[in-house]
């Protein structure tokens, strides 16, 4: 039998002016289980709290009800007081007789009557409360960053800076990501390599950071603080510890006709290759799709020229398991394929390129050595047309492969391309066809205006409707909405600002992490405004464009924010769990798996358990179990469960029904 104590607060006159607190205390006395009831001026005051502590001891109370302000205000205060008095802090219930009673009612009899009902309801609930202990789980002090672009590198550096171990898993042979392919960065026009490569080197040299390049995450188990991740280290057929990165093999390899993905296929590389000069790690990789030795067993040139003896044609994929406390997704983006938009003749003419290809054509380390030459005949283009919003901002029912969102970065990089082109080649005519120019961001609009006013880039409001390659020119047919004309421009190059989309690896990764995604395959944040770098799945954080289109400054800012969240988590030795979590009664669970489907956190798992039957046989049954460290206590599963096997601690079916009964009595 419970021994309940009831404390009714006057809150000065805040409560006592409208609610007859003495009458409430008196009424509470007559409720079953109540052994002590009193009113007091200010329950939250030191002496009020002392009263609680003393009465718990004096009356051997097993539960208390405080009738006061909102639990959102002082629940914590009273729980602490109860704990100080030797009571389990979860044996406390609050009857909100201020915000939800005295402050809204003017008439004392009805306010008092309502307060009495609220107290009764709280007593009914606390009678069914059970002492709860917040569990703890240890934290593995190592973080995993998935993706080695600028987002992943920055996150890893910041975490390592705080003194924690961090691993980067990158699917390509080198870290660097998209930023490594970029020539200059807006709005400052400093060289991307000059600011990225030092960070890459810093990451490689930091003894807290391990880089698993040419690797992928293949399995994730566990929960916040305690993940076990299986990393697949793809066979690169070159021993990482022996290769010196001298590059001799990449010059001698006879297989010369491999499209160079780093230059987006604008030139070729060998079957054994180092993606670019500043690659980290600077280790050669053999492309098994093109290597004749791996395909037919004939060749072996690279092995012969390698003085370090690093070539290993027998290499196999390796799988390693590593424990982590936190995981950061930094999987980045890609431009969409534009082959559905062949009104722009991308498939018909090599002189129609995407913006990222144009970036490589401008880059000193690119296929043309930084001289802008059009791909078809390697001549200098004199008229260049930029087309904005290719595949962005399309309606949901679009028949192409378009995206409904704005890709955000295109307006700015196109202004950059236009400006750089005019600066290097003032004899070039540059046209930009836009729907809207969107340049929010520090110094962004000024940058765009400079392109127009200082560099004389022709910005035309309208869209390109058709590109017809003919006689060495690209005949561009477009509308100029402000002039009310259809324009016909004979261009030498057309540059398409292709929409960006999340990397294809993000969706399967989200499944492994039980992290949620939106319909566009961007990771969803825990709260769009207040928790933008956390996934709703505890322990999983988001960095960079995998959460939504972002430019470099934003990406770096978010990378740092994600890192600080990770640091906050890893700094703890133990995680205290919310004890008000769901709990499956295995005897009642019939294994239907409905609850698992509604859990937003992936906290529910199913496994076969052995049960002893009344006839002493044993039976294997599928039953649910809740991981208390992952469950956030929403209760969605409890309603889904047809058997009533799933219940929520602190808000159990019986407790809520008792409240209902007390209110309706």
């Amino acid at each position: 039998m419970q021994r309940i104590g009831v404390f009714v607060c006057h809150c000065g006159s805040n409560i006592a002016a409208t609610v007859d607190v003495k009458a409430v205390a008196e009424a509470a006395k007559h409720e079953s289980g109540v052994v002590f009831s009193a009113d007091y001026q200010y329950m939250c005051s030191e002496s009020g709290q002392d009263l609680i502590k003393d009465m718990i001891k004096e009356h051997k109370l097993t539960g208390i009800v405080v009738c006061s302000c909102s639990p959102r205000m002082h629940e914590n205060t009273f729980c602490k007081a109860a704990a100080a008095g030797g009571l389990n802090p979860y044996m406390v219930e609050i009857a909100n007789i201020r915000e939800q009673c005295s402050w809204i009612h003017k008439d004392m009899p009805s306010a008092t009557a309502k307060a009495i009902v609220l107290v009764r309801s709280a007593i009914a609930k606390v009678t069914l409360n059970a002492p709860l202990t917040a569990g703890t789980s240890p934290v593995t002090k190592r973080a995993l960053v998935i993706g080695g672009g600028i987002a992943g590198i920055q996150t890893a550096l910041d975490i390592a800076d705080a003194g924690f171990e961090v691993d980067i898993v990158e699917k390509e042979p080198t870290i660097g990501g998209k930023m490594a392919q970029i020539d200059k960065t807006f709005p400052t026009l400093d060289c991307a390599a000059c600011i990225l490569t030092p960070k890459m080197v810093e990451a490689a040299q930091n003894d807290k950071i391990r880089i698993f390049s040419y690797s992928e995450v293949s399995a994730v188990k566990g929960f916040v603080g305690n993940f076990t991740v299986t990393i697949k280290r793809k066979a690169r057929y070159v021993k990482e510890d022996l290769c010196t990165g001298c590059g001799l093999c990449t010059e001698k390899c006879p297989q010369k006709k491999v499209p160079n993905e780093f230059n987006l296929g604008l030139d070729n590389r060998r079957a054994i290759y180092i993606p670019f000069a500043q690659a980290i790690p600077k280790i050669a990789t053999i492309d098994p799709d093109y290597c004749t030795m791996l395909k037919s067993g004939k060749c072996g040139v690279c092995s012969k020229v390698c003085s370090a003896g690093a070539i290993d044609y027998q290499a196999k994929d390796e799988f390693i398991d590593v424990n982590y406390g936190a995981i950061v997704a930094a999987t980045g983006f890609n431009p969409i394929k534009v082959d559905k938009y062949d009104e722009f003749a991308y498939a018909q003419s090599p002189d129609v390129v995407t913006s990222l290809e144009y970036e490589r054509l401008m880059n000193a380390a690119g296929p043309t050595g930084g001289t802008l030459l059009r791909p078809s005949d390697r001549t200098h283009p004199h008229t260049i047309v930029f087309v904005q919003c290719v595949g962005s901002r399309e309606s949901e029912d679009s028949t192409k492969c378009g995206k409904s969102y704005c890709s955000k970065i295109c307006c700015m990089y196109t202004a950059k391309h236009a400006m750089l082109t005019r600066e290097k080649y003032p004899d070039t005519d540059v046209y930009v066809f836009y729907i809207d120019v969107r340049t929010p961001g520090k110094s962004f609009d000024e940058f765009y205006r400079r392109a127009v006013e200082q560099y004389g880039v022709h910005y035309i409001k309208g869209m390109v409707g058709k590109v017809t390659p003919e006689g060495g020119k690209l005949k561009v047919q477009a509308s100029d909405l402000i002039a009310g004309k259809q324009l016909h421009i004979d261009a030498d190059m057309v540059v398409l600002a292709a929409a960006i989309e999340p990397d294809k690896t993000a969706r399967p990764l989200a499944t492994l992490l039980t992290a949620s995604m939106d319909t566009n395959d961007f990771f969803t944040e825990a709260h769009p405004k207040l928790r933008p770098v956390e996934s709703p799945t505890a322990g999983v954080f988001l960095s960079g464009a995998c959460q939504g289109p972002k430019d470099i400054p934003e990406t770096v800012a978010q990378a740092g924010a994600a890192a600080s969240k990770v640091i906050g988590l890893l700094a703890k030795d133990h995680l205290v769990c919310n004890p008000c979590v769901a709990n499956a009664n295995e005897m009642l669970c019939s294994g239907c798996s409905q609850c698992e489907k509604v859990c937003p956190y992936g906290a529910i798992t199913y496994s076969y358990k052995e049960f002893r039957m009344p006839d002493r046989t044993t039976k294997l049954r599928l039953v649910a179990s809740v991981n208390a460290a992952v469950c956030q206590g929403c209760g969605a599963c409890t309603v889904t469960c047809p058997s009533g096997a799933m219940d929520l601690k602190g808000f159990s079916n019986k407790q809520i029904m008792a409240e209902v009964d007390a209110i309706c009595k």
Partner: protein, 291 residues
């Protein structure tokens, strides 16, 4: 049909492919065939029956039978296969232990009026077997059924008329629990109505009012999972049209959240464990129909 089924069942038993056969056993009268397990050919020859009084949905019996050792063969009518799939989805049937034989069904006769089809068969939703290992007879198509006509008729009544209708029907309930016991969606380890800790237990209710809630709670519990097999109404000794409760949920789900047929496939996410951001608001209930 019956002859082919007996032969096939005997063959499966003798070849050792299955250990037991779940079918219908002839009753005392022509119309009271009951579900039964057969283990030898002689019993099959003598007592196995398949005629227009084999309404019982055998899929529920597989919950126990598939849990035993060995393989059980089962005969499933088209509508039974939906329950079968749904039970597999809920991990209630061990699929590997079952050899499912789809059997053609032309509709079952009403035991109360043996000249006409049962209501659920007259408004049959599908002649298609959605799961089976082999077929005897033909598998048909999903039908354009008029099964929601009565629900619609009720919806078009005034609130008072509806209340009178249901009061007339539900007043006859004797709480025998037959509807629950036969329902393939009611396969909990322990039913909440039998569990004193659930807060909903009311086997011997103190308050007649609580019994009114029984059918509402039960209908809600099976909402989104009910395949509309119609067994609840078939077994009701008071002939309460309980399927009209389930069909109301199904109709609402179809109209509000898109066509959904429980048990059509094994892997689908049911409408109550799913959502879209643009779902109708609950106020849609006030906005439609009359009152």
């Amino acid at each position: 049909m019956q002859k082919v089924m007996i032969e096939r069942a005997a063959e499966l038993l003798s070849s050792g492919k299955v250990n037991r056969v779940l079918g219908w056993r002839a009753g005392l009268f022509a119309h009271d065939n009951t579900p039964s397990v057969f283990t030898d050919a002689a019993d099959l020859q003598a007592n196995f029956v398949y005629n227009e009084f084999c309404g019982a949905n055998l899929s529920k019996y597989l919950v126990k039978e598939s849990d035993k050792e060995g393989t059980v063969a089962v005969f499933l009518k088209p509508c039974d296969t939906y329950s079968f799939n749904q039970l597999i989805a809920e991990h209630k049937i061990k699929r590997d232990n079952v050899y499912a034989i789809g059997v053609q069904c032309n509709g079952m006769k009403d035991v109360n009026d043996r000249e006409k089809l049962e209501e659920r068969c007259a408004s049959c939703k599908s002649r298609k077997h959605v799961a089976y290992d082999e077929l005897i007879g033909e598998s048909g198509e999903i039908l354009d059924s008029n099964r929601f006509d009565m629900v619609e008729k009720l919806e078009n009544m005034t609130s008072e008329e509806r209340f009178e209708f249901w009061r007339g029907e539900l007043s006859r309930c004797v709480r025998c629990n037959a509807c629950r016991n036969v329902c393939p969606a009611c396969t909990c380890e322990k039913c909440i109505f039998d569990n004193p800790d659930s807060g909903s237990a009311n086997k011997a209710p103190a308050d007649p009012f609580e019994e009114n809630l029984f059918h509402i709670i039960r209908a809600f519990h099976v909402a989104g999972r009910c395949t509309d097999c119609g067994e609840c109404s078939r077994v009701c000794p008071e002939n309460i049209p309980l399927h009209l409760l389930n069909r109301k949920f199904i109709k609402d789900i179809n109209e509000l959240y898109g066509e959904y047929q429980a048990g059509e496939t094994v892997n689908e996410r049911g409408p109550l464990v799913n959502y879209t951001q643009g779902d109708a608001e609950p106020s849609v209930v006030y906005e439609r129909g009359n009152s």
